[in-house]
Structures are given as C-alpha cells and as structure tokens.
Amino acid sequence: MMENKIERKGQVLFSGYKYGEGIKKALKLSREDILFELKESKLRGRGGAGFPTSTKWMLTAATIDPDKYLICNADEGEPGTFKDRVLLLEYPAMVFDGMVIGAYTIGAKFGIVYLRGEYKYMLPDLEAHLEKMRKDNYLGEKILGKDGFDFDIEIRLGSGAYVCGEETALIESLEGSRGEARNRPPFPVNRGYMGKPSSVNNVETFANIPFIVLKGGKWYNKLGTEKSTGTKLFSVSGDCEKPGVYELPWGTKVSELLEIVGAKNTKAVQVGGASGICIPKSQFDRMLAYEDLATGGSVKIFNENRNMLEVLKNFMEFFVEESCGQCVPCRIGNVKLLEGTKMLLKGEFTFEYINKLKELGRTMKIASKCGLGQSSPNPFLSILENFKDEVFNQGWRNNGR
C-alpha cells in the first residue's frame, strides 16, 4: 500500500552502497583511526539536536565499563518526518553497517534498534536482514575474524509515544517504564540503558557512517557548509507537487528546495516538524543548516490557502497529548498555549494575555525537563511572530463571516 519507489539521487546516502563494504574497511582500521575520520568529517547527529557524533562516541568509548550499548533511535515521531522510514525500508544495509562500525569504534557488545510501533510492518524484513548479517558474520562473535569483537543487534518496538524518541525517555522505555525523560547529568554516555554507558544515535546518523569510513572524513566535510557538513535527508510534505525524501547538501536554501519539490504559492514553511519553527516568504532565502535553520529533516509546506492558526492548533494539540506529563512547564504550559491559540482563532484575546503566553513559551524553552517541552513553544512563538497580520486579525474575520 505504500509508495516509496521514487527515483532517488544524492551525493552520499543515495549514491549507492554495497552491503558489508563499510564494515570490511572499518575492521582494517583502528578505533582511533575511525574516531579521527569521524572527527574530521564533522558529522553531527541527524536526530535533531545536532550533537557531534565523534564527541558522543569518544565519550562512550572512554568509559571503562566493559558493557556498553549502542542504540539506534528509530522512533521517528516528529510530525512531518519520514526519512528514517525510507532508510530502513530501502537501505537497511547502510544503517546496520553503520551500527556495526559504531559498535567496533566505541566497544559496544549490544546493539538495540528502538523501532516505533507504527513501523512494525518493517519488522520481518529487518529481522531477515539481520539474520543475513549473522550468516555472513557481520554480526555475532568474532566479526569477520576480529578477535574480541562480538556484537549483535536486537530490535525492540515502541508502543505509540512520541516522547520516547527523546533519548533518555527511550532508555526508560527500553527498561520497561513509562517514557519519562531522565535528569541529566549523568548523561547516557556515562549511564544509559541499564546504567551502562550508551550511545543513542539516529538512523540517518548511522547511515552516514559507512560512507565516511569508505571515503574519508575529508571528503565528507567538503560537502555542505562549514558547520554543517555532508548532506541531509529532507522529508518534504505538504503543498507541493513532489512530496518525498530528498538528499540535499546542508546549506541548501529553502527557496531552492521549494523549487526542486515543485511548490507553488507557498506562504509558509515549517522547518523541523511540529517542534520546529515556521518561516514566512520573506525568509525563504535562509539556509537549511545547523547554523541557520536546524532541522531533523522535516520540511512542511503551506500554500496561501492554509490557515496558520489551524496549523498551530494542530501542533499544540499534538504536544498536549504527547507530553509525558511529568514536568509542570510542559504538562500545563502546552495546554495554556493551546488555549491561547483557540482564543486567537475566535478573536477573543487581549494582547496583554498573548504576551504573557509568549513569556511563558520562553520559560518553557528553558525550564522544561526535556527537549519536548523545550521545543514545543517553537511553533507558537514563530507563527505569532512571523504571521502577525493573519494571526491577530483572524478572529474578527471569522466572526464577521
């Protein structure tokens, strides 16, 4: 029932990859060499936060605990994001090879893929692929004859909770608890799954690894921009002719992307999913890059006919439902922002109160316990800022009708 079979082109991930090649090359290198290449590549996490992958792995590698975990975050729950789906469905070799290389690098014995429940239909194929890897000795004991390198991957399913994409909530969920984010420090690299050092990385992050190993960090960091190297998969949806997953170098302008996907009459673009920010036409020459518009990959396009307050309402409803509910700013704050949105829709608001809500939004961004509450005010703040005219004049327009 699904249509992933779109022709894909790209400089890295969609450039073609031969199963096992990355692992073979990696096992000829030392762990330090791989970390060096990784550092050179300046690869940053593709899950959204953009933490340098080499640093995360170095910290995990540096811990003395012999039991380390490498966790692949395949919870992809951000509305508007679906690139990991494509990677896992069509290019599992890149992802799993990346995990094996990662395990070798940090010295992990156990690998876990946290696959969101919605993607359960992929399970048979993924399991089959892992089985094949075991047969070919890419997984198991003494991988490719390398003494002391034992590693296997287990796939665990989520159960329908967006917040479990947050790495510490994910770990809680793996441990059999409610997906409530943990206090940090200590960070997962020191104390993660089962209290053991754990590195949690995004599916796409792993998929990049074999290429960096094969072609070198230098080659990789030439792509993209100074601070955002390489390419990025963008999940493009909304009002355009060709929605889908696109591999583009970091630094691509929003307007360029809109051109590629055939978007017309575009009024607004939401970058980074529900928790991202919404930009108007006047900002379409901004870059998709960590230093400008950072994103986990979601690009959502709205044309002139869309009502931005309706969009915002949908986002806020999402957060009210998906907040884990443990901390006050997020549990109650999102409800207040949703109420505010509804006031705006009805035109029953005072600027004084809306300004208080904006203040609240800014508090949520710094006082919430985890990334969910820290980013959920983004659409509220950016839509109110960037679409002032539409937002504040809508109520009486609606009522006047």
Partner: protein
C-alpha cells in the same frame, strides 16, 4: 538511615545519581564551584541544592523531599548554570565539574513564578476550606513569589471525584500538583505499591491499579503518603465533627486514650521545635475540650507486653519442649495496623506468626466498654471511646469487623495527632500554655516501657525489660545499663540482637503456672529483630521465606512506618529523619525520667489482672477481650 537512593524506586524515577566519594578529602573527591560568585568546595556528586543549602542559599522546592529519591519534575528549583542553554533543576543536578551557578537571575525568577502560576491555574480548591491551610507548600510558595492573581486563569470545575472510600485516607486529586512524592513514598519508601502516575500528558494523574478506589486496593493505610504530600490532595478521613457532637451530647460518656507518639510531636503543631514532650499539658487540654476522662494508651501497651510476652513464652515452650511443629515462630508483633495489613496482603501465609494480642489501642477499647464500664457502673452503649493516635491506619483498625469483642465497636474513633491539634485550637487553647495534669484512674499513669512503644525498637525493648526479669529474676537495670536496651535502639532499618539466658530465676506467680517447669530456658539464646518501614519488612520477610537468618529469630518487632509510630501517618507535617530523631529523643528522655519503667511493675496492670482478667495472661477473659485473629487478603484484587 540507609541511602535513600538505593531502595527499589519507581523505575521511571530512578535517581540517576552520581555516587559521592567515600572520602571527600581524597584527590578528586571534592570540587570547587561558584555559587552566586562565591567559591565553595563540595564533595563530588553533591547536588546543587545541597550545596546551596549548606551555604544558606534558599531555593524553593516542591517535588523534592528529604526522605525520598529525587524526581526533578516540578522545575521550581531551577537555577542558571553558566554555559548551559537551559536552566538546571538544582535538586537533581549532581556537581561533577567546576560549574558556575546563579540562583536568582531574572530568568530563574520568571521561570519559578511561571511554574507556580501554572500549577495554580489547574488547582481546584480553596485554602480556607482546606485541611492544609497554613501548612501547605503550594500556598507558601504562592506567598513567597507574591502571587496576587491567576495569571493563566483558574480551573472552575472539578476534574476528579474525591475518593473517600477508605476508612483512613482521602484523595482529592484536584489539589494534586503531580509532584509524585506519594508515588515515591508508596513504592520506594514503603514498597506497598498502591500509587503510580496513570495516563500521559495533560491526562496524567495519580492513580491506583485499574484506577480503583483506595478501599479496594492493597493500601495499608500507613498514611506515609499523606505526610509527604505538599498539598491537601491527600489527607486523613477527619472525624473531629463526630467527636464534637459526642462531647456536646450530655448523655454520652466520652473518653479518650492517648498514644505515646502524639505527645512527642503535637507541640510542632503549635509552633514548637520538634522534640518537646507535651504529655501532661495535653491531658489538661483534653479535659478542657470536654473529654470525660483521659487515659494513657501506654497502660494497654504495658498490658500488651504481658500478653504478647506470655504468648511468646508459650510458643517457645511448645516449640522447644513439646517439639510441636505447628507452632509458628518467629512471633511477629501486631500493634502496627499498617504492618498487619501489609502482611495480610503480601505474605498471607504468615498471618499465623502474628501475635494474637491486640494492639494497645484495641485492648484499651475492649477494656473500656467492659471492665471500666462495670467499675464505674456506666452503660457501655453510652461510652464513646476515642483514641488519639500518630497513625492513619488506626482508623482502619478500629473499623475492623473483628474489633467488637466488648459487644460494641471497641474503639469508636481513632483520630490523628493533627486532628487533635485542630480540635485543641478550635477550643481556643494554646497547648504550650496549659498546666500539667495526670491521667485519670482507674488506669492512671503508665510505665516508660509502654511509652517507648512510640519509637522503633520500643516494643522489643519493653518486652526484653519484662521477659528478662520474668525468666532470670535479674533486674533489667542490672542487665542493661540505665535499663536502656541499646542494641534495639536507633534508626537503622533492620536491627538484630541476641540475648543469652544463662540462668532461670524465680518466675513470678503471674505466669509461673502456665508451664510445668521453666528449666528449658536455661542456656537459650533469645534472637530478636526490629524492623521499621514496610520496605524493610519486605526484606526481612523475603529472608524468612528463603529460610535465612531472620527465620531463626524468636520474636520480631515490625512497624509499618519509618521510625516507628513517631513517624506515623497521622503525625504533624513536615517529617524527615531529623524531626523523627528529635521526637525519639523526647520519648527516650521522658522514659529515662520515670520511676516506673517496666510493664509488669505497673500497679494498675497488676490490679487489672487481680480484679478483672482473673485467669491471668492469655487466660480465658484475656483471650476473649485482648486477643484477635487476622484475615488472609492476598494481593489479587481483580
């Protein structure tokens, strides 16, 4: 106390702590940080909150509690850490690097105010009709942060129904701020596991298994959750109105017995520092309120020692001499109704080990409507028997169907220390100003042995004082320095002691007739243990189940509440280890100052056996009135 972070905490709230070094002075054991531009050196792993408290910097908290592992969910305690893009929750941020902390920046103050505003926006309830008025952390925070209006609106409809199904505990979730202290208390501190967060997001609430009412789940009524709830969301079922009506009814003879722990704590309700004993002032206050007579539960505590001690000796005789394998040893104490219910639910196969002796409260109840009524020629149906207890489970206990051996409900009302304080205030009395007065006859003043029932280890100490004298004829004060049985004292969760009995002295007449001869005790070693807090009880019970060291014990004292009754669920709020220790000191000091410190020497006890319980300890009358049986409950409720 054991490390509070080592228990089995609710998994979702495992404290991800950084262990503190054993020796902070070793290299790398300490670290210097800057707090508000002042340099301070703290052991590695100290939380920011701890570091600030040690340096007299006040940081508001709500989900943090001294007794519990941390949660970091209310976000009130946030502070700025230089270089961090977000604020840090100081209660749960272990210091491991030389960070710079600011505790009162505009951002921080704004965030705290917002958190309070948000909580208030969903808080349904009015302070002046709330049991926690004037002793509510949320209310205090609102005041501290100068809340003058509801910035983000105010909820106008109740969201939840009040759960008043339990005899002991009422839950009013509309006042709940979801700090999860109760969850951590019930699962971690007490290991009962009644409460957890249910649902997700804005729908999250504190609930029970299948969201059943409290009466229908395995709640043991210990009330520890009440003591740690910052708001009025959890409180005891109040019965003060009923008592007022009884007092106002001239046809009723209203009496009250007072347990040993309330007197050591009630002063806190009147602004005194913890650790003031108010025994005799309280007596006066109670009489002024209008109680017809005021008795000391310590009297029946003394009686409990005789009955329970006798029962133990009988069990030992049957087991050791008669080799009767059906005898259940170790014998467990039964005076803590929270513990009794815990055992009934979690280890129902062990109810036979519970001493059949009733708790002091219930013994008193049974005597009041029989012995006392007869002696004073009162109609027992006109006696209203009240008890002030440190405990919420006592409310449940007096409502147990088996507790009516006098022909009436033995104890009509169990009220908590907090409720009594309220009544005293309502009567216009300032307790610390009261003159002293004694307990009423025929029960009079009781022994120090009964008094120390209020502290963990107290029942055991009282029993040892008497049993040693019964068996060896030696004076307890000669065996134990100052009569203080130190091995069973202290706040350690589980205590174990052995007492060698090398000779048998003249056994007093009171119990001598019970067995044909007493030589078998010679050379025996009495093995005892003392356990407080049901989490510790679980450890000991599991050990017994596995045939470990504790299965070899003869007698084990169990108290449901941490610290024993003085830390009970009906005691003044707040509570923490320091406060509990002060209360214990007050009790021990009062005991040390008494002439009469052994249960069996209590002249009123001797009198009672002579006049009323004429067939002696564990005899027929005693059995009918002072002993009971238990219910196998199990864990399955659906």
């Amino acid at each position: 106390m054991e490390d509070k972070n080592k228990n089995r905490v609710p998994l979702g709230q495992k404290p991800h702590i950084v262990e503190k070094p054993k020796d902070p002075s070793a290299i790398g054991g300490s670290i210097t940080v800057e707090i508000n531009e002042k340099k301070v050196t703290v052991p590695m792993g100290t939380t920011i909150l701890e570091a600030c408290r040690e340096n007299q910097i006040h940081i508001p908290t709500l989900c943090y509690h001294d007794d519990l592992c941390f949660a970091g969910v209310c976000r009130l305690c946030v502070v700025e850490v230089e270089g961090m893009p977000t604020l840090a929750a100081s209660c749960s941020y272990p210091i491991t690097a030389p960070i710079k902390i600011k505790t009162s920046t505009p951002k921080v103050r704004r965030a705290r105010k917002h958190v309070i505003d948000l909580m208030l926006s969903e808080h349904y309830g009015e302070c002046y009709s709330c049991i926690r008025n004037n002793n509510c952390e949320l209310q205090a925070l609102a005041k501290e942060y100068g809340v003058t209006d509801y910035t983000f609106g105010h909820i106008e409809k109740k969201r939840y129904e009040i759960d008043d199904s339990s005899f002991s505990i009422i839950r009013d979730l509309d006042k709940c701020v979801l700090c999860k202290r109760c969850v951590r208390t019930c699962i971690d501190l007490q290991e009962v596991g009644v409460l957890e967060a249910i649902g997700r997001g804005h729908e999250t609430h504190i609930g029970t298994f299948l969201d059943k009412q409290l009466a229908d789940v395995i709640c043991i009524n210990c009330g520890q959750c009440i003591n740690r709830c910052p708001t009025g969301a959890l409180h005891e079922k109040e019965i003060t109105q009923d008592i007022w009506s009884a007092i106002d009814d001239p046809t009723k003879h209203v009496v009250i017995q007072t347990a040993p722990s309330p007197r050591a704590a009630i002063g806190e309700e009147f602004g005194l520092e913890p650790g003031h004993s108010m025994t005799f002032k309280m007596n006066t206050a109670l009489k002024r309120i209008g109680f017809d007579a005021v008795f000391d539960t310590n009297f029946t505590a003394d009686l409990t020692i005789i009955e329970e001690g006798t029962e133990l000796l009988l069990r030992l005789y049957k087991a050791l001499v008669n080799k009767d394998e059906s005898v259940k040893l170790p014998q467990f104490t039964s005076c803590s109704p929270g513990w009794v219910k815990y055992l009934e639910h979690f280890y129902p196969e062990y109810v036979g080990h519970l001493s059949s002796a009733k708790s002091p409260q219930q013994m008193f109840g049974a005597l009041l409507k029989t012995y006392y009524a007869k002696k004073l020629k009162l109609d027992p149906s006109k006696i209203v028997s009240c008890a002030v207890m440190p405990c919420s489970a006592k409310k449940f206990e007096c409502n147990r169907p088996e507790m009516n051996d006098s022909g009436y409900q033995d104890v009509d009302y169990g009220l908590t220390t907090r409720e009594l304080a309220k009544m005293i205030k309502e009567a216009g009395i300032h307790l610390p100003e009261m003159p002293d007065s004694h307990f009423d006859n025929p029960f009079g003043d009781a022994s120090g042995a009964g008094l120390i029932f209020g502290v963990t280890g107290g029942v055991m100490e009282a029993a040892i004082r008497s049993v040693i004298e019964f068996i060896t004829g030696d004076k307890a004060e000669e065996v134990f320095d100052g009569m203080n049985v130190m091995p069973v004292r202290g706040f350690e969760g589980i205590k174990y002691a052995e007492i060698k009995i090398d000779h048998v002295g003249p056994v007093p007449d009171l119990i001598k007739h019970l067995v044909p001869n007493w030589d078998w005790v010679k050379g025996a070693t009495l093995k005892v243990a003392v356990v407080h807090g049901t989490a510790n009880a679980k450890k000991v019970m599991d050990d017994i189940k596995a045939g470990g060291k504790f299965s070899q014990c003869h007698f084990i004292e169990f108290m449901a509440c941490p610290g024993g009754c003085l830390g009970g669920g009906g005691q003044p709020i707040p509570t923490n280890e320091e406060i509990r220790k002060k209360r214990a000191e007050a009790i021990y000091a009062e005991d040390a100052g008494l002439e009469l410190r052994k249960s069996h020497e209590n002249p009123h006890i001797i009198q009672t056996y002579k006049e009323f319980l004429t067939d002696g300890p564990c005899g027929h009358t005693a059995h009918k009135l002072l002993h009971t049986h238990y219910t196998v409950r199990g864990k399955y409720i659906a």
